[in-house]
Symmetry: C2
Subunit: 787 residues, 2 copies
Amino acid sequence: MSHWTLVYDGPDVPGTGVRESLCTLGNGYFATRGAFPESRADGVHYPGTYVAGCYDRATSVVNGHQVDNEDLVNVPNWLPVTFRVGGGDWFERPDPALPQRTELDMRRGVLTRTFHVVDGDRTTRVTQRRLVSMRDPHLAALETTLVPVDWNGTLVLRSALDGEVTNSGVARYRDLNGRHLSALGTGSDGCGRVWLRCRTLTSRVEVALAARTRVVQGRRSSSGVVSCGGWVASDLTLDVAMGEQTTVEKVVALYTSRDHAIGDCLEAARDARDEAGSFDELLRRHTAVWHRLWRTCVLDVGGEQEQRVVNLHVFHLLQTLSPHTADLDVGVPARGLHGEAYRGHVFWDELFVFPFLNLRLPETARALLRYRWRRLPRARTAARAAGLRGALFPWQSGSDGREEAQRTHLNPRSGRWLSDHSHLQRHVGLAIAYNVWQHYQATGDTAFLAEFGAELLVEIARAFADMAVYDRALDRFTISGVMGPDEYHDGYPDRDAPGLNDNAYTNIMAVWTLSRALDALCALPGRCRGELQEALGLGAEELERFEAITRKMRVPFHDGVISQFAGYESLEEFDWEAHRGVRRLDRFLEAEGDDCNRYRVSKQADVLMLFFLLPDEEVTDILYRLGHPRDPELIPRTVDYYLARTSHGSTLSSVVHAWVLSRNDRRASWHFFLDALRSDVEDVQGGTTAEGVHLGAMAGTVDLLTRCYTGLTTHGGVLHLSPLLPAELERLFYVLRYRGHWGVEVEVRRDDVRVTVPPSDGPAVRVRIRESSTSVAPGSSCVLPLR
Amino acid sequence: MSHWTLVYDGPDVPGTGVRESLCTLGNGYFATRGAFPESRADGVHYPGTYVAGCYDRATSVVNGHQVDNEDLVNVPNWLPVTFRVGGGDWFERPDPALPQRTELDMRRGVLTRTFHVVDGDRTTRVTQRRLVSMRDPHLAALETTLVPVDWNGTLVLRSALDGEVTNSGVARYRDLNGRHLSALGTGSDGCGRVWLRCRTLTSRVEVALAARTRVVQGRRSSSGVVSCGGWVASDLTLDVAMGEQTTVEKVVALYTSRDHAIGDCLEAARDARDEAGSFDELLRRHTAVWHRLWRTCVLDVGGEQEQRVVNLHVFHLLQTLSPHTADLDVGVPARGLHGEAYRGHVFWDELFVFPFLNLRLPETARALLRYRWRRLPRARTAARAAGLRGALFPWQSGSDGREEAQRTHLNPRSGRWLSDHSHLQRHVGLAIAYNVWQHYQATGDTAFLAEFGAELLVEIARAFADMAVYDRALDRFTISGVMGPDEYHDGYPDRDAPGLNDNAYTNIMAVWTLSRALDALCALPGRCRGELQEALGLGAEELERFEAITRKMRVPFHDGVISQFAGYESLEEFDWEAHRGVRRLDRFLEAEGDDCNRYRVSKQADVLMLFFLLPDEEVTDILYRLGHPRDPELIPRTVDYYLARTSHGSTLSSVVHAWVLSRNDRRASWHFFLDALRSDVEDVQGGTTAEGVHLGAMAGTVDLLTRCYTGLTTHGGVLHLSPLLPAELERLFYVLRYRGHWGVEVEVRRDDVRVTVPPSDGPAVRVRIRESSTSVAPGSSCVLPLR
C-alpha cells in the first residue's frame, strides 16, 4: 500500500462509521460519503451527500425545550445502486464472510470497493468505482461491475435518486427534527435517465439531480422506471453469465438554485447529465485536475506512515475547499462536508485552515473571507444590539450569518438542561481579523484590503474597542463578560451573571487586532482610506482610542504567568489524579453538583493559543507596549503552567500544544503532532470521526509541518524561515504560492534550506533564513546553511 | 436648474415615455422607473422594477411562428401608492391642467414629483420623493406628502406591493407572452407592514418584497390590509385638513433567492424592512454614498448643457452598474435596467461600457468579465457544436449563457417573417477578448489574468484560430460564414447560404486577439501558464498556429481601402438620394423585394470600428505584419469611404464616428459627439428611449471625453495622453483609478496637461504626454505643455 492509498479489508464496522468518513469523496462544491452500500431498505445507514452552503433550519421540541437547529443539508442521495436476482431481496450489504476491500486512491480521488453478495446459493462479486468530479463540480459518477461467481441468469439493477433522506448521521441529534427536504417532483427522460427536484423546507433552496444509467458491458434485456414520493429509480434487467463481467455506469449531475450561470436548476442538471462523457472520460479529466492539485499542494515529509496521513488530510481539505469553492458563498464548516456534526456551522476554527489555503489556493482563501464580509450587515446588527459600533461575529455562524449557538444544552450525564453561554465567545471576530491580516501578508494583495479586507478588519476592531471600558482606578481598559476559547470556563463560581473579565487571549488579541486595523488603514491608498473611513464614520478620535487601547489594555498576571482571566488565581487547584480518564470534566462535575468554573482546569488551550498565533517576540512586544517588562522566561513558564492544567479534550489542542512546544520541547511537540495526526484516521475520540472529520485539526497538522517546524512567516514581505525540525524528520519539502509567485519550492534539510523561485516577470523574493537574508530572483534558488 | 438636476414641468407625455426612462432610479442591483403614478387601474402604464440578473423564459406563438423569449423580468412593483377621498375613485393620474413638476436630483439620486389631483371639487397637492438606496442595495423608499388645497376630511391611502405585473413595456413585444411571475403568497405583519412572495415561471427565481408604510406627519384614524392574488396593500385612513401636510413614508426591501448571505429571501426581506431606518435616515446614508460615487466618477466638461447630459449618462451607468454589481452574477444589459427592450440580454455593446468601469470601478468591471467566464462551459459547448476548440460566445447571451438571438424576425413593413442570421456575429467573442485585455492594461492586475482573464482570452482566441482555414492558393487564412457588426449584410446576394467571407473587422480583430492571447500567456507566472495550458490541452503546435495566423490572415482590399468583406467591391453603389429619410433601409428594401446585401450600404460602422478600438498605429502594425505595406493614407481614405456609405442607424454609430474623426475632422467629430449625447435625452430614435436607455451610447459619450479627446491609453503600464480637444472644449478634468492608484487626476487644458497622483505607498506612475515622458511619484503632480 503506497502513501497514496488507504485500504480497508474485512467487513465494515457498523456503528463506528470511521471508514466511511475517511472515504468521503468531494470537490469543494459537494461531497458524498462513499464506503457503504446504498440500498433503500429501511434501517440501513444512508450515505449523505452535502452541497456546500445548502442550509436549512428546523425547529424541534426536545424534553419540552424548543431547539432551533440550522443544518448543512443532507441533500438527495445520488448514489443508490442495488440489485436483486429474480424476485429475491434487494441487495443490502456485502456478505461479511467473503473478501471485501475498500480502497481510497487519494492521488486520483477515486474510491474502489470490492465485495461479494450472497443470495441463497448464488454468489456475485461486485466492484464499484466512484468519483466526485474535481473537473466539473456538478458531476459525480459510479461504475458498478458485477460478476456472477457461480450462476447464470437475470438480475435487475436499480439505480435511484433518493430525496427522502433525513439528517440522521449524528446519533445525538436524532431527537431533533432531521427532515429538511420536500420533494417537488421526479421523472424519467427515457434511456435510463431519471431526475429529481426537491427543496429545503425553510430556506427554500432548490436542489435538482439528473442521473443517467447505462450498461457499458453486458446485455440489457429491458428497463423501466419506478418512483415513490421523492424517490425515483431506473430498473435495468440484465442477463448475466457465470464468470462474465457486466458493467453499468451511473453519471449524476447536481445543481442548486444558488448556482451561477443557470436558468432553472433542473434544466441545468439535465443538460449537464446529457453532455457528460462516459465514466472513463470523466475519470481521465478528474484525474488530471487532481494531478495538478497535488502538484500545488505537495508536502513531502518522508516516512510512509506519516506521509499517508498527511496526504489524507490534504485530500480532505481539498474535498471541502477546492478551487471550485472560490466562486461559492460558503464558509469553512468545522467538520468539512463529511458529516453532520456541528450542523455545518462556521466557527473560529477556520483559523486553522486559512494558512493552508493562503499559501496554496489564495483565491479560495479570499472567497472564504468574502463569505464573512458578506455577513457584515448581520454582524453590524449584532454589534448594535450589544451597544457597540463595528461588527460582532457570531460564535456559530448560520447561513445568513446569524448566531446559531445553542442557548441551552443537555448534560446527558445528569439529564439536566443547562444554560449555554458559548455565544459569549466574542473572540471569533479576532480570529477573522487574524485571517484577514495573514491573508494580506501571504499574498501582499493590497487590492484585497481595499476591496473588503480592511473594512472587515476595521469593523471587528471597532467592536472590540467599544467593548473595552476604561477603568480609571486601574488606568487600564478592561473587557468584561466574555468567554475565551476554553469552554470549561464561562463565568465565575460566585456570580450569577455569565462571562469572564479580561480573558488574556481576548484582550491581547484585541490589542493585536486594533494595531493591525491601524496598519491596514495605513496600507491603503490615501483616497481609499478616506473613502472607507467616511463610509464607516470612523473619525480620528476613534482611531486615537484604538491607539490608546493598544497601550493600556489590561492583561492579568498571577504567580509569574499570564492569567487566563482576571481572578483565575482565586480558583482552586484541581485534583487531576482523582479524575484520570474523564473526558468531559464539565459534564462529570455538573452531574456531581460541582462546576469546572471553580477550578484551574482547561478544556483546551486558551492562553496558549496566543503563542500559537503569534511569534513569541510579537507577544512580548505587545506586553511591553502595555507596560509589562520584558521577561524571557514568561512564555515558557506560562506554557508549562497551563499544559499541566489542561485536559486535552479537543482535537485542536494537540495542534496548539505541538506548536507551542516546538522550540523548547521537540520530543513532546512531536508527540502532540502524532496525536493530532491520529485524530481522525484512528478516531481518537471514539466515534466523532463518523460525525465528520475534524477539518481544523487536519489542517493544523499540515500547518505544523509547513509553518511551525520550518519557522515560516510571511510578515512584512519577507519569506522568513527559521527551521527546527523534530528529530524524527530528515527533510521537509513543500511548494507555496507566495505574493504572485506560483510554485516557490522550500526544502528544509538538517543542514540547510533551499528556496527556489520559479521563472516569472515578478520581483525577486526576499528570503531570510534565521538571521541571514538574501534575495532570490525568479528562475533561481538559494541554499543557506543552518549551522 | 443646475447641471445636477433634470426638471420637467407640465403634463406628462403619454406614449413617448422618454421622461420616465430618464427618471429611472437604480443602484446596480435593482432599478425602478419612477416618474408616473402607480395606481393599479387597468390601462395605466406600470412602472417596472427590474432586478439585475432575474431572467425568465417564455414561449409564445406569433403568427404561427414559435418564438422563445428570455426576458429580464419585470419583478413585482414595490411603488404603488394611491389614495381616494370618501368612496371616490382611486387617484390615477395628475390633473394635467394644474402645475406639476418632476425633478431628478442626480447628485443625490432622488426623484421628486409635485402634482395636483382633482376629485370633484376637491384639489389635493401631492409631493413625492423617492430613492433606490445606493447604500443598501435591497432597499427603496417613497415619501408622499399630501396637502388638501381646498378641503377637509378623510382620505384612504393605499400602499401596495404588486406581483401581477407583466412585461409589457415595449409595444412591439406585446404579442409575446409577457407573463413571468406566479404569486406564491402575500400577507401582513401588522402596523402597515405587508409582504409578497412570487417566483419567475420557468427560471424559478423567488422574489420577495416586504413593505412598511407609516404616517410620519398627520393623523391616522385606522388601517387595514387588502389583497387579491399576487397583490397586497395597506390601506391607511387619514384625517386631513386644508393647507396642512400629511406625510406618509413607504420603505420596501427586496430580496431574491439568488442573493448571498440569506436563508429564505422572504425572511431576509422582512428582516431588512424591520431594521431599515426612516426615509430621512435612508436618504442621508444614500446621499453620502452618491457623494463618494460622484467623486470617483467626476468628469468636468464645462458648458452647463453638456455637463448635465454627461452627468445623466454617468448617473445611468451607475444605476445599472455600481459597486453593488461587483458581487452579483450579472452582465451588462444593453438597455440597462431601465426598460425591457432587448430583454436584458447581454450583447457586444458592453464593449462601450468597460472603459468607463475599468478606470473607475475596476472591481465591477472584473465581475462583469467573471460573468462571461462563468458561462465558458456553455460557450465551449457551442464551439464544440460548431466543430471548434475553445469558446464561442453567443450574440445575445441569456441568463445561462445560451444563444438567445432570434432565428426569425418579422418585417413589419412587408408582414413577412424572415430568417435572422444575427447569431453569425461571432465577433462578440472578440469584444470580450478586447475587454479582458483592456481591463488588464488599465489595472495591471496579473492575478486577474491568472485567475480567469487569460483562460477567457485564450479560449476565445482558440475558437477563432480554428475558424480560420488555410487557403493554399491564397497562402492566407480565411474566415467564412460570419457576419460583421453591420447588420445590413448577412450574406451575398447571389448565394443561399448566409454569412460573409473575410469580414475585415472580424479578421483583423481575430489577429489582434490571437496576439493578445499569446501576450497574456507570457504575462502569467511560468507555472501558472503551464497549468493553464495543461488544463486546456493547449500545446505548442496550437500556439504556433496562433502565431502563423497573425502573419497570414486574409484582409480584403478594394479601391485602395479595406473592404468590409471579401467581394464587397462587386456590390452595387446605393442610391442614397432616392432613399433620404428612410431609417431602416433593410426593412424598406425587403418590402420592395430588394435586399441590402446587394449594395455598398452599412447600417453601422463595421470597418470603422477597427479605428475606434485600436490606435491607428496598431491597425497599421497588424496590417504590416500581415504583409501589407504601410500607407499613411489608408485609414483616412477608408474612413471617408465608409462614412459616405453608412446610414447612421444606430446610436452607437455616432460614438464610433465621433471617435474616428476626432483627429482629422474635429468639427465633424464634435457634431457626432453631440448626436450621441442627444440619443436618449432627446429620444432621437423617436420612442426607443422609453424602451430603455442606450447604455452603450451613454458610456460611449463619457469615453469620448475621457479617452478619445484626451488621447488616453494605458498600454504597457504607461499612462499616455495625447490630447486634441475639440474647439468647443476649453478644459477637461477627470479622475481615474489606475493600477492601484486611487484618484489620479487628469486636467487637460488648451496649453497643457496636469496629472496628479495621490499619496500612497505605490510606485510612481509613468506618464507620457505626446512625446514627452515623465514619472509622477505618489503625492505629486506634473504639468506638461502641449505646444
